[in-house]
């Protein structure tokens, strides 16, 4: 699934490790989500969106 995590992360100036810690997942898992190799569940997707302060569709819409 395409997403804008990388862009949003860059805007906040967060590293992958930093964001992963905030979300409560492993850095490798965040990397897999970011690169579209793994799909997060809806609760995790909502958690990611909440951390960036945007809507879920703003993170996981077509990039």
């Amino acid at each position: 699934m395409k997403n804008r995590i990388k862009v949003l992360r860059a805007e906040k100036n967060w590293s992958q490790a930093e964001l992963a810690e905030r979300i409560g997942i492993a850095r490798q898992s965040l990397n897999a989500i970011e690169n579209g190799k793994a799909d997060p569940s809806l609760p995790l997707g909502m958690r990611i969106a909440k951390i960036f302060g945007v809507r879920v569709e703003d993170v996981f819409g077509e990039a």
């Binding site: 997942i25 492993a26 490798q28 898992s29 897999a32 793994a38 997060p40």
Partner: protein, 150 residues
């Protein structure tokens, strides 16, 4: 239970330590009564199972997805390359399994027979061991395939 890398490795290490120590206890203290064999088996299953759950729920959801996938394909690998050729052939070539067909007077029978629980435990342990090996191989294959895809 939230994601914790430290808790995961602690629980996994404890599973290995419990299994290894129980196996050692079993090997050191002979002869084995049926009660002792059953008690040790139940203790290993209960403690390892509990710790396994702790380890599993200490992973995040993406790691759990990967683990489930690896256990599934690892199981298939274990059946194809482990269980079918190894266990079936071996069980049919061991004198212990053939003992009822070997006349005692021939002297070909095994000199020391353990209780059936021991052989059952060995069989179950072997299948589980193959599953674990298969799951590790599946992880390696996933990693190589992931790198190939870029």
């Amino acid at each position: 239970m939230t994601y914790s890398r430290k808790r995961y490795w602690l629980a996994l290490g404890a599973v290995l330590a419990v299994s290894a120590s129980m196996t050692l206890i079993f090997l050191i203290f002979e002869p084995h009564s049926a009660l002792m064999t059953t008690a040790i088996s139940m203790a290993v299953v209960a403690v390892s199972g509990g710790l396994g759950f702790v380890a599993y729920f200490s992973l995040d959801e993406i790691q759990r997805q990967n683990e489930i996938r690896a256990w599934y394909y690892g199981g298939l690998l274990a059946i194809l390359f482990g269980f079918a050729p190894f266990v079936l052939l071996m069980s049919n070539s061991l004198l212990e399994t053939m003992t009822r067909f070997v006349p005692g007077a021939s002297g070909m029978g095994p000199s020391k027979l353990h209780s059936p629980t021991v052989y059952f435990g060995l069989g179950a342990g072997m299948v589980l061991g193959m599953q674990v090996m298969g799951h590790l191989i599946a992880h390696v294959v996933f990693k190589i395939a992931g790198r190939a895809r870029g």
